[in-house]
Symmetry: C2
Subunit: 316 residues, 2 copies
């Protein structure tokens, strides 16, 4: 089954396009986890990696019944060295064992056979045993050119996996290169066209192809424009929550059925105990804070986007 | 000491800007290493990782007396999962222990605190103990915008490390986005300007700053143009050898002293036994083939670029 079909089946089963980003940060981790990890000994990197793994696994326990997709951020695991990378591998595997789809956020990209190596490393698609980091999908950077996307596309098609190409990112300075006027259109528009064309080649009669695009909620007008420009392209929308994007800002990313997009929240969910409306739970109840923040995000998206259609579809 | 000063001291000491890329590929590895690694048992990934590590360490033994800088390609290690990433860490450390500078070719890039995590993970600069993957420098992708380069710049300045920003890559399709005309210049020219400006902010009175640029030998005219546009920016030039670039194609990347650039060869050196003029050594003498290919590259660069000045400077 192609990635978009698997993705949409999972979203419809859970009734929400909410995506939880797994971005473990040592300085924000509940003290309970740090202490426990330190007790087992080892280097500081091994301790961090152990704490990150437990943190992520316990997050999965809280959210797996309601959330379809998670997105571990590779950087935070690499920051603990090989021990952290081993924790990443285990977290991906645990998420898949719970029936979740996993988008590994590595923003990889390279040329030719090097891109093939990254694709082999991360894209397992429908068979978790087919890649060491058994993700369903991987985020990919397009700067090197479409020829460097092709090895990822080929592997994704082969394994039922997907990629999400950076098109219009959520950070304040993302327009510096992405928004430059270039030969009658903006650079991000041209990248978006290239991605959509890849899907039209792959999609046959499917509504969506396996090549997604990252488009930030922090630029809602451009999100709507890209949704129209890329009708066969699934979107990954970062920037909701802590980065300032609202559910209304994400609305233009969805189709009438509530499909075609997933909306990421990382800190706003996993560190909900630290600030904002769920801080009242306190550090000892960090999992309850995650639970409440997850429910609130699902409800918020359902109330202000066509994702509300998913809920009624699910009840039917 | 700033990265460019450390880099140039190392290049002057060895008398060559030749850079050896460590890109281990299982299907091209000498059978001797595969067999030995398999004998020790474990999963296929563990066997690959073990063979990659020995391959790279033995390459280092052959080249360390003549080469100043090596560039391990992260993708080929990640392709073996956490075991491969552990091998990458060990190879980087071994190279540094032999006095080599290490550019980790990870082409990383992300926003804000995520970029900080990558910088912490890879950039050790002058103190190998200050990062888990103890590289002197890291390759970085600019598509997300200059605000996302800043955490790498800050860490590089702090630790005496460097980054190499992708500007004009060596692959056939690199012009697709990089060469687009945008507001009176090409995209790669704009990225180059941004990089040069970062160096002018950092360089004080130094000739070169810590923020390098990747510019392919496969586009020699653009290499010369970028050398002129970026007088404070050290260049990393891929595309020599197997990808078709010649020493003459790299000449425009150097200053009159033979500094300001390093030229990468990966397959042409490390798999010299497999094809080309050093294939006569045969698989059993793969290290002798590497030895001969290394000497030939050094001589070729000295004969056709100002890198010849380094040799005479060294003898003086």
């Amino acid at each position: 089954m192609n990635f978009a079909d698997r993705l949409h089946a999972a979203i419809q089963a859970k009734g929400t396009p909410a995506l939880v980003g797994l971005d473990p940060r040592w300085d924000q981790l509940p003290a309970e986890l740090k202490t426990k990890a330190a007790t087992a000994g080892g280097t500081q990197f091994e301790i961090q990696a152990r704490a990150f793994e437990e943190f992520c696994l316990r997050i999965l326990d809280v959210i797996a019944d309601r959330i379809a997709v998670v997105k571990p951020q590779s950087a935070f695991f690499e920051d603990s060295g090989p021990a952290g990378v081993l924790a990443l591998q285990r977290v991906i595997r645990a998420a898949r064992d719970k029936g979740l789809l996993v988008i590994c956020d590595g923003k990889r990209g390279d040329i030719g056979s090097t891109a093939e190596a990254y694709a082999r490393a991360y894209l397992a698609g429908s068979d978790p045993d087919s890649a060491p980091f058994a993700a369903d999908a991987l985020t990919v950077n397009p700067y090197l050119g479409a020829d460097t996307l092709q090895p990822f596309v080929d592997r994704a098609v082969e394994c039922g996996g997907g990629i999400y190409v950076l098109v219009r990112t959520s950070n304040p300075g993302s327009g510096e290169f992405q928004n430059r006027e270039t030969q009658g259109q903006r650079l991000y528009q041209r990248v978006g066209e290239v991605v959509e064309t890849l899907n039209q080649t792959q999609a046959s009669n499917a509504a969506y192809g396996p090549i997604g695009a990252v488009v930030g909620a922090t630029y809602p007008e451009e999100l709507g424009e890209l949704r129209a420009l890329m009708p066969h392209t699934p979107l990954l929308i970062p920037g909701y929550g802590s980065q300032g994007g609202t559910s209304a800002d994400t609305a233009a990313g969805f189709d009438v059925q509530g499909l075609g997009a997933v909306v990421n929240s990382s800190r706003g969910i996993i560190f909900a105990y630290r600030k904002g409306q769920f801080a009242e739970f306190g550090e000892d109840s960090w999992e309850a804070a995650i639970d409440a923040a997850t429910s609130a995000m699902i409800a918020d998206l359902a109330a202000h986007t066509t994702a509300g259609q998913l809920q009624s579809g699910r009840q039917a």
